[in-house]
Symmetry: C2
């Protein structure tokens, strides 16, 4: 799957992932209204609004991007109907040829991590049959429990040709509270990065491992160090745009060949119509605003990489 | 909710939580067979087997215990039908008067943690209506992202009178890989424990905070230190029984008054019928074996606490 992701990045010339994190506040009035007319102001209504919103964004951007990253919390908050919308979104993105990174940030003791891995990127056994319940291509994983919390995901990846991105340094303001603490003179996130490199060693695609890492765009200097610590790991970089990261901050997350990282933007793309520079599209044409924002983001990152090269 | 949990512990004289982690391998043949006859060997069939298994265990143990802890991964692995069985289990346990600890180990950046908190222990807004989608009483939370990943859960707890248990030192063999690393000469889990105490300070029930901690039974010496670092935090202790923890190891997780901790057992209770000492019940009467295992566990812990006192 890492090879497919890279192939799609090369095809689109855009190391970009669109974060499908449909908070209700981002969903235009007319979509909410229609969904509530059909399903009432219910969890099903919210789920329908999310799904219609996602579909229109995917329809308007899928040819420009290699991948999407639905944040499962935004679906899970609406209970079962919300998770049905998550599944529908994953399936639709696959139909459109997109790589799907499930941003699930799971992580637990061994047998429990194995259950998460089976449900999201693997298969479960029911009697004599097997099923792939959520069927994402990659998922994000929390490393706090150590190797035996991550290993079950790695095993499933190897079997199913899928991939993971392990949280190393997250983009949020207080990520340093534990992640930056010095252990033997080095920040904890570096030790986690070393483990990611180690876990990924026997999991190689053509040039990169399918055990990747999450490193926030908001910490470019740390990205530079981590790029070296995990030379074969793809880095998923959240925090671009709305959270403050810019194209020029991101060059050090990439290798010289322009590969090695994929940058996520959520709000900046899916709620682009709310920004002044895209206001001309209007709320009705929100997905066209998203398309313009994808083009601008691809150009920003492309220019920054070209300038370095 | 912490006061209700304590009240239930005092009523039952059992600081025990039954982990409802229904792996398919634990579910007796006859239950699986019946479920598959009705729903086929499908995700729905697996979910039905899980639900019938849980129901029978709850029916046979609810008067002896204060709380249950369903591990969401064991349901999530069966996709939407699995999560429907999770929700059904939560609701049924509430009907039976049990406190429900959702073992979800979520944790993300601020707005995303807020969505998880809303969906699991809070309420979501849909138009003019509000819903409580999963409605657990407590959830477990992963601290790797720091304060702004935990704070949204704390806020919802305050509003809704719910609670959380933050992972401090987990019960699995490799938990030390990051959690035990020394920061300024002290293990990381102690720093996390200090944060738990700090987060919990303004969240007091009568005697205890509703911001608790998870500390594995498998590390009793660390439990002793953490008990002191977080004097007002209730400790959820996994790892009893099948994972190796014994009653005598657990006394230091408790305060002198016999409160301050609640010990989880999953496999040891729900799959008790597979152990030699409960084999006499037979697979058909698995839930009676679970009841006997609860009684033995309550006695083991009660005796250990009495011996100390």
């Amino acid at each position: 799957m890492i090879d497919r992701l890279i192939e799609k990045i090369e095809q689109t010339h855009a190391p970009i992932v669109v974060g499908l994190d449909p908070m209700m506040g981002y969903i235009p009035e007319h979509i909410q209204k229609k969904a509530f007319e059909e399903h009432g102001e219910t969890l099903e209504g919210a789920a329908e609004a999310i799904w219609q919103f996602n579909k229109e964004i995917v329809d308007h951007t899928h040819d420009l991007i290699p991948a999407v990253k639905p944040q499962v919390a935004m679906y899970e908050q609406f209970g079962i109907p919300g998770l049905q919308a998550f599944k529908k979104t994953v399936d639709y993105c696959h139909e459109k040829g997109l790589v799907v990174i499930g941003d699930i940030k799971r992580g637990d003791i061994g047998s429990t991590s194995a259950a998460y891995a089976a449900g999201h990127i693997g298969k479960v056994q029911v009697g004599s049959k097997t099923y792939a319940p959520f069927e994402e291509d990659f998922v994000t994983v929390n490393p706090y429990l150590g190797t035996d919390g991550v290993k079950p995901f790695v095993d499933v990846c190897r079997e199913q040709k899928k991939g993971v991105f392990v949280l190393v340094k997250t983009s949020n303001p207080s990520s340093g509270e534990f992640q930056d603490r010095l252990v033997d003179g080095r920040p904890l996130y570096e030790l986690v990065g070393e483990k990611v490199a180690e876990w990924g060693k026997d999991c190689m695609g053509k040039d990169y491992s399918y055990i990747g890492a999450v490193v926030g765009a908001t910490y470019p200097e740390m990205g530079k160090v981590l790029r070296q610590i995990m030379p074969k790991s793809f880095i998923l970089v959240p925090g671009y745009g709305a959270q403050g990261g810019k194209g020029e901050d991101l060059v050090h997350f990439f290798h010289e060949d322009g590969l090695g990282a994929i940058v996520n933007s959520s709000r900046g793309i899916i709620a682009a119509y709310k920004q002044e520079q895209y206001a001309k599209f209007g709320e009705e044409h929100f997905a066209e605003a998203s398309r313009a924002a994808v083009e601008a983001m691809a150009k920003d990152i492309g220019d920054a990489l070209a300038k370095r090269g």
